[in-house]
Subunit: 266 residues, 2 copies
């Protein structure tokens, strides 16, 4: 068993951690609005060095690199070379395009940048997802029920008593022939994690929204780890923690992991 | 009146053209699988020089640049400097992320790269779109009913007798307070252009799928230009036309524009 989902399950067990650290690094976050990319690179190294043994995965968000154009993508390329072999790296790209373009993005994200998994948007249907599925070792997390306030604009519309996000979960469950599909569900809507689980038992969940967005760690862990495992993404409250030192970032990450272990052991 | 939508309408009238040329440039397309980025840059220049007076807009698709990482984004930066001031350039990015990330993408696409408009995915709802709307001169085209075969997986689900793509059209119509929202509707599903129009009268349509994907130019022009205007996107059948010379690319673009003028004059 060498599928992405099995690699993820092993990593969670080995590290006794469900922590995914989101890399959404901004000048504002490091409290230096004149920060150069070199300052941001330095902070990236500090984050990884301080927390890599605690985190199962890191999740660079491509928007925060793309903001700087080609220089930002260079920073992302350099970031990718910093991780240890066993660390899983998820490209938070939320891509979704027709097959021909999806192939380019799959080439970019899996081959060029070397991500282990990526996030994708389901709006365009299966042929926008398929080019990412052929290598079982590479995974995708498909947006299902997101953590933002407007997620209900379309995701909660009902069709024959099922909401759109439940139908997305159901379809993804069917598409998961290579054991490399997971779902994104927001910690801000914990009851909906339960609904997603009913429609997609066994699929790993990537749960953002704990921390700055106010989602519940307890409920995300409890609901997200029934019938499958979950990764809990935390970004700002670790990567911009108190005095921005390695010590304070590590301490914040350690607090999260300790709480996760307590919840699992209960 | 200086909104993106009014600029687009003026440009269509001034150039008597509805043509948008998609820049999806690959080594395979220029029939040289060992092509370097310099070869692709050269072909980009040829395309623009051969067709810029005929096209209202160009639409670089970010996936085709991202495939090459930071070097690809450098190519995109260089491409952006090639266009004349009055040429509209649409970044086909299909982004969609929570507000904080959407701001980064808006910075990237509008400020760093300088696109006049971008394509976005509606799946995450209004707060994923809002950061792109504040400057009326910059526009967005939101995915509504796409041209790919799997578009019906989710876009055609019905809620109270309206399909998801119709509800997306309706919401976009409501959100269009700054006259800078348009919709993406595939030429491969011309009847659905009519349904979109009913729900979003007046909104510009970006219609891909003519050419290699087999959509009808006639129907796209006829249905797309009732109650508003449409841009017809053509990529491969212009940019990789016959012998790849400027002459043949121009001739292919000219054929499309002549047909558009005939259809409009009928």
């Amino acid at each position: 068993m060498n599928s992405f989902n099995s690699l993820l399950i092993s990593a969670v067990k080995n590290k006794k951690s469900h922590l995914c650290i989101g890399l959404d690094i901004t000048p504002e976050g490091i409290r230096n609005k004149y920060a150069s990319i070199d300052d941001l690179k330095l902070h990236t190294k500090k984050i990884i060095s301080a927390t890599e043994d605690l985190a199962v995965a890191f999740k660079p968000n491509l928007g925060f690199y793309e903001r700087w154009g080609s220089q930002g993508f260079k920073w992302l390329e350099e970031t990718m070379s910093l991780f240890a072999e066993e660390t899983l790296v998820i490209g938070d790209a939320k891509r979704g395009d027709i097959g021909n373009t999806a192939k380019q993005y799959a080439n970019s994200l899996f081959r060029h940048f070397g991500f282990d998994a990526v996030t994708l948007s389901p709006y365009m249907g299966f042929d926008s997802i398929e080019p990412f599925l052929s290598n079982p070792k590479k995974g995708v997390f498909i947006l299902c029920k997101t953590s933002n306030p407007s997620s209900s604009d379309f995701q909660n519309l009902s069709y024959n008593d099922k909401k759109l996000f439940e139908l997305v979960a159901k379809k993804c469950f069917e598409w998961n022939q290579n054991e490399n599909i997971g779902l994104v569900v927001g910690a801000t809507v914990p009851e909906e994690i339960v609904e997603v689980r009913k429609n997609a038992p066994g699929l790993p969940l990537l749960i953002p929204g704990v921390g700055a967005q106010g989602g519940s760690l307890e409920k995300s862990m409890e609901y997200g780890n029934k019938d499958g495992i979950s990764l809990i993404n935390v970004s700002r409250s670790i990567i911009f923690s108190s005095d921005l030192s390695e010590k304070s970032m590590r301490s914040s990450a350690k607090d999260y992991v300790d709480k996760m272990r307590e919840i699992i052991d209960e």
